[in-house]
């Protein structure tokens, strides 16, 4: 009645091994799924940290832009935190924070006469010295030699910059402090103000002009401790006058009870306060004013016109931006 055949009495070792193998495979698959879930969650946490690091960079750059546009002179720079805010660390530097590293790259931005921006210098587009394209990247190691990264591109324009413009010099020299917008302080006698109030070299004989000349402006009061952003001008250069050129230097001074305090000893170009007068602003579309001239209330410029003796450049207007 209870005859038992050995073939069906139980499982062989082989069957048990197969069963265990299948169980192990299923268990391994489940473990992989769970581990993947863990890894995803961990990466999600890393992503939150990375975004936070990215945003820190973006907001720090915004604060630098708000403080002093002319501090953004680098192609790539990291950030340095001080008690009074963030500063750029210097050319070629980057940031590291544990697992994460961050780079901040600065690119020029170009505009056409309609104000449309371009990231490339195309025909009809000029360099907008008061705008920049900034790309922030955050990288981190996700294991097995692989990196992950997130990036953000920002377009900043120094909208809050205030401009001091002079486009008329007709009322002549003798004005040390700016009040009449058509006057200036002095010149070397080789500068002529034409009928439209624009500056040219003095015609010393028929069709012969002084080889060069300069004009010093009145001192302009920004009415605050200012950071100076850029200097831009409009000019007319005869096409066939390769020697013709207009260039600028500036000086700044602190306020001394409503009057300019002590000016720098030397006129400064883009290199800033460097104890020499060798460098000039020469890019009419604009150059950044060195941050060593920041933190002052008064500013004045020196315009230098250079010709070839037969023709003259013409200065139509000059603008200095500050914030």
């Amino acid at each position: 009645m209870f005859k038992i055949k050995s073939r069906s009495s139980g499982q062989s070792i082989f069957e048990i091994v197969i069963a265990l193998g299948m169980f192990a495979m299923i268990a391994a698959a489940a473990a992989v799924l769970i581990m993947s879930g863990i890894e995803l969650t961990t990466r999600s946490g890393q992503l939150i940290q990375a975004k936070s690091y990215l945003e820190e960079g973006a907001e720090a750059i915004r604060s630098i832009k708000n403080r002093a546009w002319d501090e953004m002179v680098y192609d790539r720079s990291g950030l340095r935190e001080e008690a009074d805010g963030y500063y750029l660390s210097g050319e070629g530097t980057a940031d590291n924070n544990g697992l994460f590293s961050r780079t901040i790259d600065f690119y020029p931005l170009y505009r056409n006469d309609s104000g449309e921006p371009s990231i490339e210098p195309a025909e009809g587009y000029w360099l907008d010295i008061l705008s920049k394209r900034i790309v922030i990247n955050v990288f981190w190691d996700i294991g097995n030699g692989n990196n992950s990264n997130i990036a953000e591109t920002l377009y900043f324009t120094d909208w809050q910059a205030i401009e001091w413009e002079q486009n008329d010099w007709l009322d002549g020299d003798g004005q040390a402090i700016w009040s009449n917008s058509a006057r200036f302080k002095s010149s070397d006698g080789n500068i002529n103000v034409d009928i439209s109030g624009e500056l040219t070299l003095l015609e010393i004989a028929t069709s012969t002009f002084a080889p060069s000349g300069y004009l010093e402006s009145s001192a302009f009061d920004t009415n605050k401790t200012a950071n100076f952003a850029a200097l831009i001008w409009e000019e007319e250069i005869p096409d066939d006058c390769t020697d013709c050129q207009i260039k600028f230097q500036i000086k700044t001074a602190a306020d001394d009870d409503g009057w300019p305090g002590v000016w720098q000893d030397t006129w400064c170009g883009p290199a800033g306060v460097d104890d020499d007068e060798d460098d000039f602003f020469t890019q009419r579309s604009g150059e950044l004013i060195n941050s060593s001239l920041n933190g002052k209330q008064w500013i004045k410029y020196k315009a230098v016109l250079v010709g070839d003796g037969l023709q003259t450049p013409k200065l139509k207007s000059v603008k200095i931006f500050y914030q």
Partner: protein
């Protein structure tokens, strides 16, 4: 019953063995024990990992929501009342549009926002503990505020699988 016993104890010559030997029984028992203990251990590991995953997600969710909310409110604020320029504080007081003040602070490990004269709102859940909340205003006097927020977030559990710690640092520049 008699037949069963007969089968179990039978070992006569010329007859096939129809039951388990003692050694076989031991082997099978050991194998079954191994499988069961493996399964139980695996189940515990799976449950542990699932719990850990849940905890990490909980912290991440709270961090993300907290960060987004604080950043949004600072950007919307008309002014930063406290901390003032160059100072740091464990609470942040914002002047919001419409003259409403909002205070961010930690009470009993929970990050809260308290509108002046309004009902407080918890930004983090009770299962998550927030500590070392610090708001530093990095701006110079007269400049737009630059608020650096840092906090420490961890779960309340004591066992390893329920323990997870994450720090958050974010910076927001005042917009108005």
């Amino acid at each position: 019953m008699r037949e069963i016993v007969s089968v179990l104890i039978s070992s006569g010559k010329g007859k096939k063995l129809t039951g388990f030997t003692f050694v076989e029984t031991l082997i099978y028992t050991a194998l079954i024990g191994l499988v069961i203990s493996g399964f139980v251990s695996f189940s515990f590991v799976i449950v542990g990992l699932k719990n850990k995953n849940q905890i990490v997600r909980e912290i991440n969710d709270n961090l993300r929501e907290t960060q987004n909310f604080i950043v949004h409110e600072i950007k919307e604020a008309d002014a930063i009342i406290s901390p003032t320029a160059g100072n740091a504080s464990s609470s942040l007081v914002l002047a919001m549009p419409g003259g409403v003040e909002k205070i961010f602070l930690v009470e009993s490990g929970v990050l809260k926002v308290v509108p002046a004269g309004g009902v407080e709102q918890s930004l983090t859940v009770n299962e998550v503990r927030v500590s070392d909340l610090n708001f530093a205003n990095l701006a110079n006097t007269g400049a737009k505020a630059l608020i650096k927020t840092s906090l420490h977030m961890q779960t309340q559990g004591s066992s390893q699988e329920f323990r997870y710690v994450q720090n958050l640092t974010t910076v927001v520049c005042e917009r108005y």
